[in-house]
């Protein structure tokens, strides 16, 4: 196990060196294994496949241009996530400006509660997942990122805090706030119904 981990690290560091020298193939080998997961996170954050693809491309371009400054202190995926979350937040800001809306968090109160009267449980679950997506989309970017990285992606608090650029205490505060907001939007009855 240790040998495997060492081999992967060694390979990553070799690829980083090659990418710094302008080897785009090495860069693709380095980043490629993380691309699906990165896209998945950006898609959950943005809920728009076109915008998510655009943000992913911008993330990779920034990573390529910034690879010279990657010193290997952080893991490569932590570094990539950080760029992706920042780019997603930029996209959300642009979207917010386009819509000339107020703070994104205000939208939470307007999200419809999930349907409970569907003829089939499958339809009810689908409605709840849809409402969950709406509730996440209604969170302000910093809360949205906290919830997605920790509870959807399953990263540790330390990793997620590093990615979002805040301390662990501040991150936990954002996470708990986000959970309470989403819980309030969905309603306890719908959540318990889904669990039963």
């Amino acid at each position: 196990m240790l040998r495997t981990s060492f081999a992967i690290e060694r390979r990553e560091s070799d690829l980083v060196v090659a990418a710094r020298g302008g080897d785009v193939g090495a860069f693709e080998d380095l980043i490629g294994p993380h691309a699906d997961r990165l896209y998945s996170v950006v898609l959950v954050l943005l809920r728009d496949s076109g915008e998510a693809e655009d943000v992913l491309q911008e993330t990779l371009l920034r990573a390529w241009r910034g690879i010279g400054r990657f010193r290997g202190r952080a893991m490569i995926f932590t570094w990539l996530y950080r760029i992706a979350v920042n780019e997603s937040n930029r996209a959300l800001e642009r979207r917010s400006r386009r819509a000339s809306a107020g703070p994104v968090d205000d939208a939470v109160a307007g999200v419809a509660a999930p349907a409970h009267h569907g003829p089939a449980r499958r339809a009810e679950q689908h409605a709840l997942q849809q409402a969950l997506g709406d509730a996440i989309a209604g969170l302000a970017p910093q809360y949205r990122a906290a919830l997605v990285l920790r509870d959807v992606e399953g990263l540790s608090t330390r990793e997620a805090a590093q990615i979002t650029g805040v301390g662990e205490a501040a991150f936990k505060s954002r996470l708990h706030h986000a959970r309470q907001k989403v819980r309030a939007v969905l309603g306890d009855a719908a959540l318990l119904s889904a669990a039963s």
């Binding site: 491309q57 010279g68 997942q129 936990k172």
Partner: protein, 94 residues
């Protein structure tokens, strides 16, 4: 050690339900919250709802597993024509 139940337990417990579910509370706080939740349907339901929410979020990750679209390195490839030191300088400036 005996824990004293207090009248303000409900107001104290509500903002800590997520911390409790996360396992972040110390022994004393955890016990205080559990004792209160045994008698408080609102807090008890809140704990179950938060656990259900976490399951739902985890499930959404499984269902949203997606493949990155083809061509995601296109912009990178277009950017490779210059000297890598130029791209570093350009990035520093942004």
């Amino acid at each position: 050690m005996r824990l004293i139940r207090r009248g303000d337990d409900h107001a104290w417990a509500q903002p800590r339900l997520s911390h409790y579910v996360e396992g972040e509370l110390g022994w004393r706080a955890r016990r205080r919250l559990e004792l209160h939740a045994e008698e408080c349907p609102d807090c008890s339901r809140g704990i179950r709802a938060l656990r259900a929410l976490l399951r739902l979020l985890h499930q959404s990750a499984i269902e949203s597993e997606t493949r990155a679209p083809a061509g995601i390195f296109d912009r990178v490839r277009r950017d490779t024509s210059g000297d890598p030191r130029d791209r570093d300088r350009e990035e520093e400036a942004t």
